[in-house]
Amino acid sequence: MSIAITINEEEFTAEQGQTVMELAQQHDIYIPHFCWHPGLSIAGVCRFCMVEVEGRPKLEIACNLPVTAGMQVRTDSEPVQEAHKWALEFHLINHPLDCPICDQAGECGLQDYYMQVGKYQAQMTQAKVLKPKKLDVGVDLVLDTERCILCSRCVRFEDEVTKSGGLGIFDRGDRAIIGTYQNKRIEHNYTTNLVDICPVGAFTSKDFRFKKRVWFTQEAQTVCPGCATGCAIDLAFNADLKRYYRIKPRFSEVNAHWMCNFGRGMYMHLNVEQRLLSAYSAAEDAHKPMLKTDTAHIVQALAEQLQQAQQVALLVTPQYTVEDYRALLAFFVGKLGIRNVHQWRSRQEDTEKFDGVLWRGDQNPNSRGLLEVLAEFGIDKQQGNEFDTLAAGNYDLVIALAPQVLATFADIETDLQKLQELPWVSLWASAKQVLDYRYQQVLALTCFAEQRGTYRNYAGVERQLHAATSPVSAEIMSITALVEKLAACCKAQEDEHGSS
């Protein structure tokens, strides 16, 4: 049932049971708030979201105000503004205001709101309450209880989302303090969410702390490649430096407001020192390190090998996009008629595993997508690791698409080792580690942050990737681009053969 109400004299239709805060959020009407979070229960303790309701004697908090028919709400009247101003004053009197040191500066609720409403001198002249700072309370967590405004979001997250109940509020009054039992560490895979939901700098991330001021970063809206869930993420990077700094969850139906700590590490392999920056080919002496070679040259060599080879196979990890698979298979399967396509998956994965929140044992973002594209080309397969089948097969050319995130492949060294024992391997990869091995050739691929595309998650939901930066090196290209280049090379060779 829908209800008509007005906010600031503008009419809106609300759903029965909705709160004024939810309705306002939905229509981008800003009501300042700290303790309210769309993914958590209502605490109603910051007392910031005061609104005026026609006919009611007191101001009400919007977060716990259910809409009723004909309700007339004001978010901008004088008493409301006065209440907001004082709410801020109350929040700031015991806040240390150590913004220069605080890592939250630039994305801090208090700071933003202060800039928005006031910039006035504090009225309290007495000393502030001092509390413990810089406590190590868990994985990726640093707690500063002095900056804490006791909104209790973190406590509710621990109770409601992860149900681990690791945080509590001790003591009472202005001595109240957030913490774990005797500063014991919180050890689970979702701790950094506490940093995200903390509206101030009470929780900061050990990993991101002091690395980069947030105003020097940009954010790309993309998808986490860490597992089959496919959480929507904001990937923070600096476009000038082409450096990646952190990953934060973005709201989507799939992951709500959260993501796991494992997924947050998915920016590390993107930075230039981890990357394969150009193509390589085997040295004369096969035991010597591979030599940096021009990409065009290597593609040419691959095209020649394709001509000569009798038995060609593809080894594909489910970590690339649907579009890349289509381009790849359209050429190799559709054009060349190669039907030996094998899946390359981790040897120790347990794809059935699920932690009850978001993380899944299938640590490939596009397992479903790969199988679906294969089926499109008439190759029906079950999900499973086929590396050994490939190794046992007598192929004189193997084109292998290495995993983007080597960390998700438990026995990657074994596989890379075995792979170099095969007669002729063209390895397409993005991680620098592959240079420790010897293959006939290595081609450098882009990472998920440098391209658009689609993953299909465990439930078949499409997850759209968006590029953050251009590739870290000019020699790097996507699978689609490489295949195009290869196809052009093959065509040129055919033409040559045809004419000669």
């Binding site: 109940g165 690791g166 945080l167 509590g168 509020i169 001790f170 003591d171 009472r172 774990t180 039992y181 005797q182």
Partner: protein
């Protein structure tokens, strides 16, 4: 559990009784802490840990409760712990001077014998100024009778 428990058998029985007494086990936290307090005068961190280990009461919840309520202490109090009311009415009856006097007296005693804590309201304003010595209530305390009351306790302590 019984042999290695932090609590004696009688206290264990009380704790178990409280845990079954209410709709939720959590409700038993206050009664359990009150009983521990009754027996020891404080709740040690080891006991909090034991409540988790032996009775499955999350230590975080227990610690939250301990920190919130002013009754609970986590360190051994003196043998005679005086809670002296220092609210409006008692203040009108010179509670401050009496507390100061008690503090001076406590300083003169052997460590751990006597301590004083001003508390907000004991709910006996008609008998102001009032104090609790451990569990015993004393009303209409004056500068004259204060010494007598405390000396009685100290006498008992030295007799024992």
């Amino acid at each position: 559990m019984a042999s290695s428990s932090t609590f004696d058998v009688a206290l264990q029985a009380k704790i178990k009784h409280h845990l079954e007494r209410f709709e939720t086990r959590r409700s038993a936290i206050l009664p359990i802490l009150n009983d521990i307090h009754q027996q020891y005068g404080f709740v040690s961190p080891a006991q909090v840990q034991a409540l988790e280990d032996e009775f499955d009461l999350p230590r975080l919840q227990v610690q939250e409760v301990i920190s919130f309520y002013s009754r609970y202490r986590q360190q051994q109090p003196s043998r005679y712990h005086v809670q002296f009311c220092d609210n409006i009415v008692c203040r009108m009856f010179a509670s401050q001077q009496l507390i100061a006097k008690l503090k001076a007296k406590a300083a003169g005693c052997a460590a751990g014998t006597l301590s004083v804590e001003p508390v907000p309201c004991l709910g006996v304003c008609d008998g102001a100024p009032a104090m609790l010595v451990n569990d015993e209530r004393h009303l209409r305390v004056t500068c004259d009778n204060l010494d007598g009351i405390i000396d009685d306790y100290l006498q008992r302590a030295s007799d024992a």
